[in-house]
């Protein structure tokens, strides 16, 4: 039997789980600088700003024009993590948004209407709402609404969904053609002529960042893992989206990689004694980010990989932007190399590789009400991982943005029960099926269903 650590509200000891090195300070600096640039844009009209979505962003193109991206998603998550999302959500519901609409949108729209920003700095009205919706239909609505409420021109960068094993040449051509249209629009907005070399440079920066980011992610394959690929990854994701195509981003990731590699060399993990390794699927419950982290920490469970950290781009399996063919590279990235535009079965495969290659004990699926792109069908995913692969899987439901959907006691109960079971298996060397492909054999056998 496994001894359970003291827990509950105000529990005395909480295992230290957060790594705070230079990364943290640099990240803060970069994000502050980004918000400052946005404020500058709001106050002076320069630099120009364009609204963009994180997943499959063509931020390289913006960078080549010196245009600063506004990410409404970052806005929304910042509100949630600071416990400021409920008020704008309620305001949006008052405007007519349904309780079943994505709360990311509601928080962002509500905050815009209430003129609230998470940092208190001013937000510019974008010169263009550039909707690179990559697979998420809600994004199209979100940007239509932003365009309507802010009276901003909208460009729908139509991205064909990944419905074939690899992108079709027609898909790539279609996107490249649209990118050229956007170039023209950006030329108008900025009054600058498009410079292919600057574009290539931005793409080259992305390539370098991607290389380092991938290596960082691979570091979590070490036992113990030097960082938490779900909670800590969020820290690295800010600069990844805002400064990927910029030398500042390259600098940041050089430091990050070095620091984390040093931790690996010292055999330093997230916990003094790592007990469980899990893969987490789904976005975090931002309004309860800290509580959720504590629940896992109390079991010394580290997430070694997460799908959420591939929303922006999926690089750990090899894709890099190519400065020789910058337009095609951006198109490919939008089509194939980010989580949102990939179909469910491709996501199953990604998670399966995580569990195996990152040596995880189990999988946690976090269903978020707001995001049907992520969540619709996660029950089937659970079925695949438990019954077909024999991987112990925990299924939780809450939300990414709306604090009303997080039942703290209930979620804690489930998390505790899951690790109690995993712990029992560790202690007795028994039962809960092991995470390896062979598990599909014997353990799947006793998973027959009475139907």
């Amino acid at each position: 039997m496994t001894e359970k650590p003291a827990a509950g509200k105000g529990a005395a000891e909480k295992p230290k789980s957060e790594y705070r090195g230079q990364i943290h300070k640099l990240q803060k600096d970069l994000m502050t600088r980004w918000y400052q640039r946005l404020e500058e844009s709001a106050l002076t009209g320069n630099p120009k700003s364009v609204s963009l979505l994180i997943s499959g962003a063509c931020v390289e193109l913006l960078e080549s024009f010196d245009v600063v991206p506004i990410y409404p998603e970052v806005n929304a998550l910042q509100l949630a993590i600071r416990h400021e999302s409920l008020e704008p959500i309620l305001y949006a519901e008052q405007m007519g948004y349904a309780s079943d609409n994505c709360a990311y949108v509601k928080a962002d729209v509500g905050a815009m209407m209430l003129r609230v920003t998470p940092t208190g700095t001013k937000m510019p009205t974008p010169a263009l709402a550039l909707c690179n919706f990559v697979g998420c239909n809600v994004y199209t609505k979100w940007f239509e609404h932003l365009s309507e409420f802010q009276q901003t021109p909208l460009y729908m960068l139509d991205t064909p969904f990944m419905r074939t094993d690899s992108p079709r040449k027609e898909d790539v051509a279609y996107i490249v053609q649209q990118l050229h249209e956007i170039v023209k629009i950006l030329e108008q907005i900025t009054g600058k002529k498009f410079d292919i070399d600057r574009f290539r440079h931005a793409v080259q920066c992305s390539r370098q960042v991607e290389e380092m980011w991938s290596r960082i992610k691979r570091l979590a394959q070490n036992v113990p893992a030097p960082f938490d690929a779900y909670f800590d990854a969020i820290t690295l994701m800010g600069p990844l989206y805002t400064y990927r195509a910029n030398p500042k981003g390259v600098e940041f990731f050089e430091v990050a990689l070095r620091e984390l590699q040093e931790k690996v060399d010292r055999k330093e993990g997230v916990y003094d004694q790592e007990r469980f390794r899990v893969v987490i699927e789904g976005p975090p419950p931002y309004p309860y980010f800290r509580s959720f982290r504590d629940m896992l920490s109390s079991w010394k469970a580290v997430s070694v990989a997460s799908t959420y950290s591939t929303v922006g781009g999926l690089w750990e399996f090899g894709f890099r932007h190519d400065a020789e063919n910058p337009f095609e590279a951006v198109a490919l990235h939008m089509l194939e190399q980010n989580l949102c535009n990939r179909n469910m079965l491709q996501r199953y495969e990604q998670i399966r590789r995580y569990v195996e290659e990152w040596k995880a004990d189990g999988l946690i699926i976090h269903f978020v009400k707001s995001c049907r792109l992520f969540s619709a069908g996660q029950g089937d995913m659970r079925d695949y991982f438990t019954r077909t692969l024999g991987i112990p899987t925990l299924y939780l439901e809450s939300d990414i943005e709306d604090p009303r959907y997080f039942g703290e006691a209930q979620i804690k109960n489930r998390v505790d029960a899951y690790f109690e079971a995993l712990g029992h298996a560790q202690a007795t060397g028994a039962a809960v099926a092991h995470a390896s492909s062979q598990a599909a054999g014997p353990s799947a056998q006793n998973l027959r269903v009475i139907d």
Partner: protein, 388 residues
């Protein structure tokens, strides 16, 4: 087949749409040994393509209240609309055994994920996802892209049926569906003009029955029905003329439509099963058929919550529809958890309020069968417009 009276037609249609065993699909398969049926959701699918490959297109409408969900909840969970769950439930209870393939498109995230959940569980079924474009701008290269996408689908369908679709065959299919859409347009015009002659529940049943039968048969039924209806009379009632908007995908139960009518509404336009009436005018029957279909999708189609078209803001289109049909109010009839419709409601609401057009928002589930709450809301709405 001959139909004695229009009423028996409606009765037969109600039976067909209530039968999860797809009797007309079975009949077609009996008559066409080895024939395949490919299903799609009710919004839009290139049925002409399916038809030209010798396959019977079937529009799925979920299972309504005729099937209890006992398996699909475990796969899709909370906050997902009924049609996604009942479709999966139909699969898991062998009700889709008669269907050989399913074609999904960019309707919404839930419906798309359903495609892949089905694919994992039914690896031998033909399941495909089609990207219907959202950027109609001339410089985007959208028509060639869509024509190529249709070609890809055509190749897959030909593999399934073992029959090649010729350009001539495609044009023939286009003509058949042009006729179907034109007949439906006539019925819609008739209802708007004389709502006392054609009840919406009747029109709806007649249209929806077409989801489950060959278009050739449906065309016959429609011609016959139109002929009989032109001779039908009815006593005008004191009802308000409303446009119903929002149930383009998951379909409201027939009883709910009756309740709206009984509460004192003449529905003079709607977007029920809008995929059957997708094009505002005929698809050209000359030239390259795939280009004709693609160009029609991009440039000659109805507005819809599941398709972005910057040239035609939906809220403006709805107001135009209200005026064109001389309607007094709008009922937003939205399936629970239907994100595209619920998002659009915000913009519809703003525009309707700006235009002074009263509206009522109702949420329904296709699997519901008691409607007391909704009845009260519709009646109140009518009373608020009728009572002094």
């Amino acid at each position: 087949m001959t139909l004695a009276t229009i009423d028996s037609t409606f009765e037969r249609c109600t039976e067909i749409i209530g039968d999860l065993n797809f009797p007309e699909v079975r009949r077609w398969k009996d008559e066409h040994p080895g024939g395949k049926a490919v299903a799609h959701f009710p919004v839009y699918a290139p049925v002409e393509l399916i038809h030209a490959c010798g396959i019977l297109p079937v529009t799925l409408n979920g299972a309504g209240d005729r099937l209890d969900i006992q398996h699909a909840d475990a796969r899709f969970g909370s906050f997902i609309c009924s049609i996604v769950k009942t479709t999966l439930e139909m699969g898991m209870t062998d009700h889709l055994a008669i269907i050989d393939g399913m074609l999904f498109s960019t309707i919404c995230d839930s419906a798309r994920n359903l495609c892949y959940v089905l694919k994992r569980n039914y690896p031998h079924m033909y399941l495909d996802f089609m990207h219907l474009p959202h950027n109609p701008m001339p410089g985007s290269g959208v028509v060639p892209f869509l024509a190529a996408e249709y070609k890809r689908i055509q190749d897959e369908l030909e593999k399934l049926s073992g029959k090649k679709a010729t350009d001539e065959g495609l044009r023939k299919s286009i003509a058949l569906y042009n006729e179907n859409r034109s007949l439906l347009r006539d019925l819609y015009a008739l209802r708007a003009e004389k709502p006392e002659v054609l009840r919406t529940s009747e029109l709806y049943a007649l249209m929806r029955a077409g989801n489950f039968m060959p278009v050739e048969t449906h065309n016959l039924w429609l011609v016959e029905a139109l002929g009989e209806l032109r001779g039908r009379t009815g006593k005008p009632r004191d009802s308000i003329r409303v446009v119903v908007e929002g149930s383009f995908c998951e379909q409201p139960p027939l009883d709910l439509i009756r309740i709206i009518e009984d509460a004192g509404c003449y529905v003079v336009d709607d977007d029920f099963i809008v995929g059957r009436r997708w094009f505002t005018e005929d698809v050209p029957e000359t030239g390259d058929p795939l280009t004709a279909l693609a160009d029609s999708y991009v440039n000659r189609s109805v507005y819809s919550s599941v398709r972005h078209d910057a040239r035609k803001p939906r809220q403006k289109e709805l107001v135009k529809k209200v005026h064109a049909r001389n309607a007094r109010a709008v009922i937003m009839l939205i399936a629970k958890f239907c994100e595209p419709a619920l998002f659009d409601y915000v913009l519809f609401k703003r525009e309707l309020e700006a235009q002074g057009i009263p509206h009522l928002l109702l949420e329904f589930e296709e699997k519901a069968f008691t409607f007391e709450r909704l009845r009260t809301e519709v009646e109140t709405f009518v009373e608020s417009l009728l009572f002094e």
